[in-house]
Homo-oligomer: 135 residues x 2
């Protein structure tokens, strides 16, 4: 049943970053990832209108360099780490490689959002932006 | 450019829940959402092998009842709330209606995971499960 279904994601923009090599990119945004720009499409401009500098956000990306056939990995690419099912890891290699990046908006320039740190390489499709919920 | 690209998500399973009506479902899991089962596909069994009761997880779903053309909403469906761009809200109505649900695994029975609370209706496709990162 589920495996027969097809759902189409439509990118809303793209990451512009000095990171170009997935192999050397930080695994998490708080591990030295650089500032990056989210360059969003004119078609979604109305959806962005309330975003502003200082907002804590989740950026959802499509990690298009990932291997979707992988179900078991050595966490953090460490061969000494025991093999682990991908759903217990943040590996990019997984059936649906959606990246979730918690970061902060530093500046808004029209359709471009500057964020504090983002561990996604240049050109990565952006699929959603959500506010961080405070509980 | 980005808008020409097509990315296909493949559900890895399905939500089994007593919630059936999106209109009356809680907006967030901590607002009285019930326990629910994630019923996962045999094809991803290897990816689940390290999940266990007590794990804090993020469940990613595809909110297939959402309206993908919506860019501005009244938050929480409150007509008195000022209209807000969807990327500053957690509205299900947005260009890519990916739900992110933070919850806890209560039990694992083969390919079925019981979770503490989930604000997604019965039959919602599950697209990913990730561990919550402690920083």
């Amino acid at each position: 049943m589920a495996s027969e279904e097809r759902i189409v994601l439509r990118p809303i923009g793209r990451v512009e970053s000095t990171l170009v090599d997935p192999a050397t990119a930080p695994k998490q945004g708080n591990e030295g990832a650089p500032e990056a720009w989210l360059v969003l499409d004119e078609a979604v401009a109305d959806g962005l209108r309330d975003l502003q500098a200082g907002d804590d956000i989740l950026v959802l990306t499509w990690l298009d360099r990932a291997d979707r056939t992988v179900l078991v990995v050595h966490p953090r690419n460490d061969p000494a780490a025991p093999e682990t099912g991908v759903f217990s890891t943040r590996s990019a290699d997984r059936p649906n490689p959606i990246g979730i990046h918690r970061t902060e908006i530093l500046a808004v320039e029209g359709l471009r959002l500057l964020v504090r740190h983002l561990e996604a390489v240049d050109g990565t499709p952006v699929v959603d932006v959500k506010p961080v919920l405070t509980r």
